[in-house]
Amino acid sequence: MRRQGVLLTSFAEIYNWGRANSIWPLQFGLACCAIEMICVAAARFDIARFGAEIFRASPRQADLMIMNGTVTKKMLPQVVRLWNQMGEPKFCIVMGACASSGGPFREGYNVVKGIDRFIPVDVYVPGCPPRPEALLHGLMEIQKKMREEPLTGPDAPRYFRKDTTCEYPIPEFGEHDLVPPYNSELWKPPAPIVREGK
């Protein structure tokens, strides 16, 4: 009937259309990438075109966390706590090399080697820092993901299921490093490289 010009839709489609076009990102920035995020909100790039211009100062009113900048181990507990305080359904864009993998500070003792070790990430935006267009592309990918999400059934995301929790462990400062050093449900350390003959 759609081909005949009759408008047909489903409950899930209306719901997903609504939330994909009214994303409220959390207003916080960690480092250089935050400047690019600010540019996205300014007139030249204008994130308002995507209905996502209302940066909320409270995690309880936000549904998108844009991890922009270097996540230090000192800042990590606060970041995870903010993520826990956000209401479901929530999404996470990782912006830039630092938040994705530690970036140029990867070998530093104080930098988290990717925020995906502690909170679930939906979209990675590469770059150092990525330009505002790249973040907008990431936002469009999130919107696409929102539009395609089923509300029920086995493929439904975690927040539509009763058996899942939205609480992620908040790391604490241990004797040598963060405890736990990563969320084992989200990330597994790579297998050690074994070279032949050694």
Partner: protein, 125 residues
């Protein structure tokens, strides 16, 4: 006489629609939560503050009763100045009865001040 022809029928209709609109939306929200979105409370999510730092204590702040007492006394004497200013400005043209009235007004306020002072309300404990 039908209900529609009653002079206040439209007000009743207005009140009914005004009540039904938010209540209907709240009901839809509850149904949505029941059907699709299981609530997942946690101590962190229900914490008082939302700045990323750990919440400590509660958000209730205790004010001393003296704080309000000082505020009220300040307000009383602030208003007194407001009343006395036009009296002082037009002192030359007012009859002697006005002088008596203003004196009574000032005496009443002074009596209140002396009473509060004697009771020790002006001492910050």
């Amino acid at each position: 006489m039908t209900i529609a022809s009653h002079p206040y029928a439209f007000i009743a209709l207005f009140v009914a629609v005004a009540a039904a609109f938010p209540l209907g939306l709240l009901l839809v929200c509850r149904l949505w939560v029941w059907a699709f979105q299981p609530p997942k409370p946690s101590p962190v999510k229900n914490g008082i503050y939302e700045c990323g730092l750990e919440s400590k204590g509660d958000s209730w702040i205790q004010f001393k009763a003296h704080y309000y007492l000082y505020a009220i006394l300040f307000l009383i004497f602030d208003v007194e100045v407001l009343f006395l200013l036009p009296f002082a400005a037009s002192f030359n043209v007012l009859p002697w009865q006005a002088l008596l009235v203003m004196l009574a007004f000032i005496l009443l306020l002074a009596e209140g001040l002396v009473w509060a002072w004697n009771r020790g309300h002006l001492e910050w404990k």
